[in-house]
């Protein structure tokens, strides 16, 4: 029997899981896709402009706007730079769109702008155009930011889903779930005191090193909303293959693990803002890890699994105690549990 159609936008439509996918596939793409949009790349490689140019956009509506390890400003820079990096494009230029709510404190805006400036300098990008709008009190939650970015692709490495093959390995560039958990815990509702920071950072240094693998680097994605679970499922669906991951190999900070236990939120479904999932050729695993050794933001990089020969479009995990279970795509917004 047919599913009930959604009649209103719910918060879950922005969660990065199954509901978001449905909104994009059923509502947005049929109207706007003219060929390039439908592949839903992190950033699109623009054709016909001479040198290879990648282009992307992202909007940031995080609450709270200041959280341990960052704020909405640095996040807006890192998020867009990372989408470019996933197309193997060095981030170069950003636009900055500010939507400010009437009454928003000027000193907070100043702090956020300083943070944007610092993050842009660190990522090696320049803010070259922008826009500012103010909306009446109640129409926004303080501040929303949109950034669009342009990056340049040098060399011949072009990670893409078509290159993924059986026996390829899945690499994650460090412990997962830190950003999602840090934001969740810093919401006023939760009075916990964990030593937990967002991982918000530009991942270009990681990508640049992995590009030394040449054709051994098959595919890249940053596991933001929906976390590792959403990204792995996306890869499984794109390839039609089963992905098998090893729970014991998935890097997880102790603080994330404790927080997830208390809140009942799966850290594999929590967002990351400074991590990369890379699919690499089966014989390049050690080389990839060696390349990342000297890269501070790839602390704890690990090979967590592989693409199998089974055509099941799903992600299966071998658990710590040797059991097996499916890693499902997140659905709706993440909510803490009752007990």
């Amino acid at each position: 029997m047919a599913r009930k159609p959604d009649t209103r936008i719910l918060l879950g439509h922005g969660g990065g899981g199954r509901m978001t996918g449905r909104l994009i596939r059923e509502m947005i793409l049929p109207k706007l896709d003219r060929g390039q949009l439908g592949a839903l790349p992190d950033s699109v490689v623009l054709s016909g402009l001479g040198a290879a140019i990648a282009y992307t956009t992202d909007s940031f509506v995080v609450s709270p706007i200041f959280f341990p390890g960052g704020d909405i400003g640095s996040l807006a820079v890192h998020g867009t730079c990372n989408d470019l990096a996933c197309s193997a494009a060095r981030p170069l230029f950003l636009s900055l769109g500010l939507i400010l709510e009437e009454g928003f404190p000027m000193d907070q805006l100043e702090t956020i702008l300083r943070s944007i400036s610092r993050a842009a300098d660190e990522a090696g990008v320049e803010i070259v155009t922008g826009d500012t709008k103010v909306v009446p009190k109640g129409s926004a939650d303080g501040i929303f930011i949109n950034t669009s970015g342009i990056g340049q692709i040098n060399g011949s490495v072009r990670p893409s889903p078509e290159k993924i093959a059986e026996t390829d390995l899945i690499l994650v560039s460090g412990p997962v779930g830190n950003h999602g958990m840090a934001v969740m815990l810093s919401r006023a509702e939760f009075s916990f005191d964990f030593d937990l920071k967002s991982d918000s950072a530009s991942v270009w240094p990681v990508v640049e090193r992995l590009m030394e693998l040449g054709d051994g680097l098959r595919f890249l994605r940053d596991p933001t909303r929906g976390g590792l679970a959403a990204t792995l499922n996306e890869i499984a669906h794109m390839t039609g293959k089963e992905i098998r991951v090893d729970e014991a190999a998935i890097p997880l900070d102790e603080s994330v693990s404790s927080a997830s236990e208390i809140l009942g939120i799966d850290p594999l479904q929590a967002a990351n803002e400074g991590k990369i999932i890379a699919v690499i050729a089966s014989d390049k695993g050690q080389e990839a890890l060696d390349l990342l050794k000297e890269c501070p933001i790839a602390r704890g990089a690990s090979i967590i699994g592989e693409i199998t020969s089974t055509n099941l479009s799903r992600v299966v995990m071998t658990t710590r105690i040797g059991g097996s279970r499916v890693v499902s795509e997140p659905s709706g917004e993440l909510l803490p549990r009752i007990c």
Binding site: M1, R3, K4, R8, I9, L10, L11, G12, R18, M19, R22, A188, E189, F190, S191, F192, E247, A248, L263, G264, R314, V316, M317, T318, T319, R320, I321, G322, G323, S324, R325, V326, S328, S331, G332, L335, P336, R337, I338, C339
Partner: protein, 359 residues
């Protein structure tokens, strides 16, 4: 414990369980009473380690799953008709009522605040005063003491705009009903609830029903250890209550927590989704705390709520069926569009089957 040791210990326990189970030809069915156990069993992929004749069925220990649709309807009507701010644990936000969930209520302009601790509701009440704040009082012995303590604080502070919509439940009355079922051979007893009520409180399972019980923690090894004890007691026909979670649970429980509950609540009847009205299985606010009762302070006309007759949550909550036997499972009923609460609760059996699948 490092992963290699953990895996080795799990394999040894699974092998031992297999050997004990092979001594009997018939099926061995144990109920994990608590929803957190259900999730932990699936998350660890434990079922893939069990022998063919060992079955774990889920019980009524998920507070969201046993809450009737009427409760969500009543909460939304209070929110709408009395401009109340709803404060709730996250699990309830997507649970469907007759005319949508609290998520729909919020998308239509209602106020829903997700809290982790009921104490946060006092701060919310202070922030939005004099607007009423209604905390949705769903939970078992684990959460009830903190809610009782919250109301003691609210009374002492003179917080006037905080209310609780009560749907509290206690575990022994339904457990007695389930213990009488012949096809259940024992109970994996809830760790958190037992920390309050104590492992001694289950003695009636042995005395009146000759059924074994094992109090278990929530790590995979905790569960395997308790299951090993359960299968051994069932096969040897030597039922007892074993506390396999001694690092948290004492035989007498937590008398301080129980005292605060006794001060604020009195025993009442409660209606359980899937089990119906069970005498003495609920808690009502008493004495000076009765004024916090949102149902009495904000009377609303709640139309009769009908569950979709095709939804098998009731059979699933009593261990009579597994989610994959339900025709709605994964088709019309998904975590985004749940028909029953078992699909949306973070401790729900259907949610566990859907999320972790059979690999």
């Amino acid at each position: 414990m490092n992963p290699a040791d953990e895996s080795r210990t799990a394999k040894a326990l699974a092998q031992e369980i297999g050997e004990i189970c092979s001594k009997t030809s018939g099926p061995l069915r144990f109920m994990e009473v608590c929803g957190t156990h259900t999730m932990a069993v699936h998350a660890a992929g434990l079922k893939s380690l069990f022998p063919d004749n060992l079955f774990l069925v889920s019980g009524p220990g998920c507070p969201v799953c046993v809450t009737e649709k009427r409760f969500i309807d009543e909460a939304m009507l209070i929110g709408q008709q009395h401009d109340a701010c709803m404060a709730t644990f996250g699990d309830l936000v997507r649970v469907p009522g007759s005319f949508g969930s609290l998520a729909t209520f919020r998308s239509e302009g209602g106020t829903v605040r997700v809290v982790y601790s009921p104490m946060d509701a006092i701060d919310i009440a202070a922030a939005v005063s004099p607007r009423p704040v209604v905390f949705l009082g769903v939970g078992f012995e684990t959460t009830i003491p903190t809610i009782a303590a919250t109301l003691k604080t609210a009374l002492a502070r003179g917080t006037e705009n905080l209310f609780v919509l009560p749907a509290f439940k206690t575990i022994h009355p339904p457990l007695r009903i389930l213990a009488a079922k012949e096809d259940l051979h024992g109970f994996l007893l809830p760790g958190h609830v037992s920390a309050i009520i104590g492992s001694d409180s289950y003695e009636y399972l042995v005395r009146d029903f000759r059924k074994p019980g094992a109090v278990a923690g929530f790590e995979a090894l905790d569960i395997l250890l308790a299951l090993r004890d359960l299968v051994r007691m069932a096969v040897d026909k030597s039922p007892a209550i074993i506390n396999d979670y001694k690092r948290v649970v004492r035989s007498e429980g937590n008398p301080v927590a129980r005292a605060v509950v006794d001060e604020v609540f009195e025993v009442s009847d409660a209606s359980w989704r899937g089990l119906g009205l069970i005498p003495g299985s609920g808690l009502a606010l008493k004495g000076p705390y009765a004024r916090f009762d949102a149902a009495k302070s904000f009377p609303v006309e709640v139309p009769e709520a009908k569950d979709d007759p095709r939804c098998l949550c009731a059979a699933i909550l009593t261990g009579a069926k597994t989610p994959d036997r339900c025709g709605l499972f994964g088709k019309e009923c998904t975590p985004e569009d749940p028909v029953g609460p078992c699909m949306v609760s973070s401790e729900g059996t259907c949610a566990a089957y859907y999320k972790y699948g059979a690999a």
